[in-house]
Amino acid sequence: MSSERNDKIRKILKDHGRLTKDATSIADDADLYQAGLTSHASVNVMLALEGEFDIEFPDHMLKRSVFESVAAMSAAIGELTGG
């Protein structure tokens, strides 16, 4: 379920993203870099996502655009989990 996945992503953003906005209510398509996500915080988010979803982001997916929104991360996770 994409919405359940997106809520898990929001929880991880709340714990690791250090956003300037409330991560738990941030829109799926909101620009996270505009919301304060730094390159370093995005590493923490990535590692937390890998733990939560039992995945590993390959190097070719380590793009700024993959972590720019909840929807973009959700799509990448879907790609890695086949769902």
Partner: protein, 127 residues
């Protein structure tokens, strides 16, 4: 787009220490090469600062090379340190594909912050 490029990044050392405390080796080994880890860890009290400066250098290099969206792992941009203390960047994998006249890096730190500046001249048009 060819031309002279510069990239800069600023990293809070205590945040890097937090990442290491939270994720341990998963963080360190994902971001840093074996040689970078060996150098940073050789002085435990300076490790977080050294890791922070190196992380800043990797991000600054991505900005200078224009590869933030190219899908490049952090270990493909490596900070090497000469015995004299001079630092230089070594690029591996896809990061090494950018056609440049070389890169220059400078690291600095003060208090809880580390920063890096990378300058390069990109020759190719594909980057």
């Amino acid at each position: 787009m060819s031309g002279l490029r510069v990239g800069v990044d600023l990293v809070q050392t205590s945040r890097i220490a937090e990442s290491i405390a939270t994720f341990g080796d998963k963080f360190v080994k994902r971001v840093f090469t074996d040689d970078e880890i060996a150098y940073a860890s050789s002085a435990p009290e300076l490790a977080a600062m050294r890791f922070a400066a190196r992380f800043a250098a990797k991000e600054a290099a991505k900005k200078a090379l224009g590869v933030a969206d190219a899908g490049i792992g952090w270990r493909d941009i490596e900070v090497r340190r000469a015995p004299s203390g001079a630092v230089e960047l070594a690029l591996h994998g896809p990061a090494a594909q950018v056609d440049t006249d070389g890169l220059a890096v400078s690291l600095s730190h003060e208090g809880d912050y580390a920063t890096a500046v990378v300058v390069t001249y990109v020759r190719g048009t594909s980057a």
